[in-house]
Symmetry: C2
Subunit: 123 residues, 2 copies
């Protein structure tokens, strides 16, 4: 007889933290990570030279500012920022997102600065 | 002035097809693909020897049968099947999922057979 194995419930994981702009790792796929984050306000302009970066909005509303274009994501919408493309996430209201990118990708990319923070394992 | 760039709306993409057990590519991240699929019934037991495989349920209810364990996923829940682990997806009701895995990963893994189908690019 099969015994149950628990999946990752995104809402449950989001209920475990309130910190903004802090990536929480919830799953690993090969050498990639699935991370959750809560955003409000404006981040810093930065670039990931070596990797694309996937944003999927779970709740709220995310604007990914690009140089010369804005991408506005509602819940259930995703966007891949191509490697080498400068971008700056911004959210007027608190917004929960799922990120997918290679293990070790830093949140601020090439920009560094005080908002730089390594992803943390969540629960 | 910034001009809008459209994100990928998962519900819109799901409205574009009704075929079951057919993976539709909606985004690419480095050498990985984001795919959507609609499932109903039972798939085939198979293994991906070279890669983990991520399932995220969007609507419906998915059971990922493992040998000796079942993982039941509701909307907003994800699970990563580790490489080398035999599994068989099953859905009693029509279920929409998002898949994340390396480009070229075949749906039936090592099993082959009539349900084998390469992912197709979706509008």
């Amino acid at each position: 007889m099969s015994e149950p194995v628990a999946p990752v419930n995104l809402a449950d994981k989001l209920s475990l933290f309130s910190e903004l702009w802090s990536q929480k790792k919830v799953a690993v796929l090969n050498d990639y990570e699935v991370k959750l984050a809560k955003l409000k306000g404006e981040f810093v302009w930065h670039t990931h030279e070596d990797t694309d970066e996937l944003f999927l909005v779970i709740s709220g509303r995310l604007t990914i500012q690009l140089r010369g274009a804005d991408v506005v994501l509602e819940p259930g919408e995703l966007f891949v920022v191509p490697r080498g493309v400068e971008h700056c996430p911004m959210a007027d209201e608190e917004t929960a997102i799922l990120l997918f990118e290679p293990t070790g990708t830093l949140n601020t990319g090439d920009a560094g600065g005080p908002m730089t923070k390594a992803a943390e394992l969540l629960g």
